[in-house]
């Protein structure tokens, strides 16, 4: 059953049980699909020793970067940590205050998909013969080389969708969809912020992207409340 949370403190209530040491999958590709209000609430929550999974490692001084700046993220798993405006992460990394696991973007997505789909591990074609193959089991199958990759599971997923119905079915908008549907399947508890909540039955069943079974909490962040 999905809880639909509304009101000024909805985001804070939605992340209130995220515990120290939790692994948190955070959606978004750059700012598209990034659940800003949920990340801010997680920062206010104050849980420490977190592992964060995101495509990037924060941009500028807001959102994920602001969370990293608190020093409460022990490790980040991402494909593109360094960017022109990733100074918060860069500083933490260079001073040895954050652990980094760089994962090719396709493996990042597929490893979370595997977690959600009950796959124990899979042989991936990506990264063979590169430094990222170090320590990984390699196998030749039907004449091609693969590396064995393991699932990435989250205790929580914080994602951004566009519209939810009251049951928790989700649809997304354009390329803001990105990691959201995959992360929703890979976490024990999935929290989705949306700009609109509609009555159950208002979404066409053919067009639901994330079925309600994957969504535990919906947080309504109307456009005027979003930054």
């Amino acid at each position: 059953m999905t809880d639909v949370l509304e009101g000024a403190d909805a985001a804070d209530r939605a992340v209130a049980d995220i515990h120290d040491g939790a692994t948190v999958l955070i959606g978004g590709f750059g700012t598209a699909g990034q659940p800003m209000e949920l990340i801010d609430a997680l920062r206010r929550r104050g849980a420490t020793d977190l592992t964060v999974v995101n495509n990037n490692a924060g941009n500028g001084d807001t959102g994920l970067a602001a969370l990293l700046a608190t020093g409460r993220v022990r490790k980040i798993i991402c494909s593109v940590p360094r960017q022109s405006d990733s100074w918060v992460f860069d500083d933490l990394y260079r001073s040895g205050r954050i652990e980094l696991e760089v994962v090719p973007q396709g493996n990042l997505a597929e490893r979370m998909r595997a977690a959600g789909a009950g796959i124990g591990a899979f042989f991936s074609p990506t990264g063979v013969g590169t430094p990222l193959a170090e320590g990984k089991e390699q196998r030749t199958i039907a004449g091609r080389d693969y590396l064995l990759e393991y699932p990435i599971r989250g205790d929580y997923a914080l994602i951004k969708a566009h519209t939810a119905d009251r049951m928790g079915n989700l649809v997304y908008r354009k390329t803001a969809r990105n990691f959201g549907p995959v992360m929703a399947t890979a976490a024990t508890t999935t929290v989705a912020q949306v700009v609109d909540v509609v009555r159950t039955g208002a979404l066409d069943p053919e067009n639901v992207v994330t079925p309600s079974i994957y969504v535990d909490r919906v947080v309504l962040v109307p456009p005027e409340a979003a930054r």
Partner: protein, 216 residues
């Protein structure tokens, strides 16, 4: 070892109702092909239970009648059904990812045999000339968080279907958590099989008839 003990005390519908009553509010549930589909008739939809069907749907409703019948909308048994508000469709890999990824709260399956440690045999009689058909049974057996079995306690030859070890080929290992039968409800626990309820028989009767050291 009377005939009356072999014949069930509860009807299929009564067993189905008992299972339906045990399904928690808001659960996501898959009902296997055959007898378990009867459970749907007893589910109080007000309690927000959502039915999954392996062929790519959440929010499956009851059997379709009359004009509702649509060949593009069927359940796992290929019976036409209706859609409920809040339903969604997805393809087969996504449907089984949902199942195998542990997202379904409950599934209800029929069985040829269940062992005291919860092994399930429900896909193959083991007969030499039988053509095996596994469908989604093995995926459900390992995928749902709770696997409930609905079956008669005794087969037609009078032998218990709750057994020390399955003699039929297995569907899944140590996957069943509770067995609903016409003679009683059995919990598979780490310490053994516990009789939760017995119908028209004492636990001792059931011990004698099944040959199992049932806990009470």
């Amino acid at each position: 070892m009377s005939r009356s003990l072999t014949r069930g005390v509860l009807t299929k519908d009564e067993i189905a109702k008992m299972i339906a009553d045990d399904i928690p509010q808001g659960a996501f549930v898959n009902l296997g092909i055959g007898q378990p589909t009867l459970v749907a008739d007893h589910l109080d939809l007000e309690r927000g239970v959502v039915l999954h069907t392996e062929n790519g749907m959440l929010g499956m409703g009851r059997a379709a009648v009359g004009d509702e019948i649509d060949p593009d909308l069927v359940n796992a048994g290929k019976i036409p059904v209706v859609e409920t508000p809040g339903a969604s469709y997805f393809h087969h890999a996504d449907s089984f990812a949902m199942m195998r990824g542990g997202h379904l709260d409950v599934c209800v399956l029929g069985a040829f045999q269940v062992s005291v440690r919860g092994d399930l045999a429900n896909w193959h009689t083991g007969a030499e000339d039988a053509i095996p058909a596994v469908g989604g049974a093995m995926d459900l057996a390992i995928g749902a968080r709770e696997v409930l079995v609905m079956m008669t306690l005794f087969s037609r030859d009078g032998s218990s279907k709750l057994v020390p070890e399955c003699t039929y080929p297995l569907t899944g290992v140590a996957c069943v958590s509770r067995v609903y039968t016409d003679h009683g409800v059995f919990e598979i626990t780490d310490r053994g099989v516990r009789v939760r309820e017995a119908f028209g028989a004492t636990v001792d009767d059931l011990r004698q008839r099944t040959g199992l050291a049932l806990l009470s």
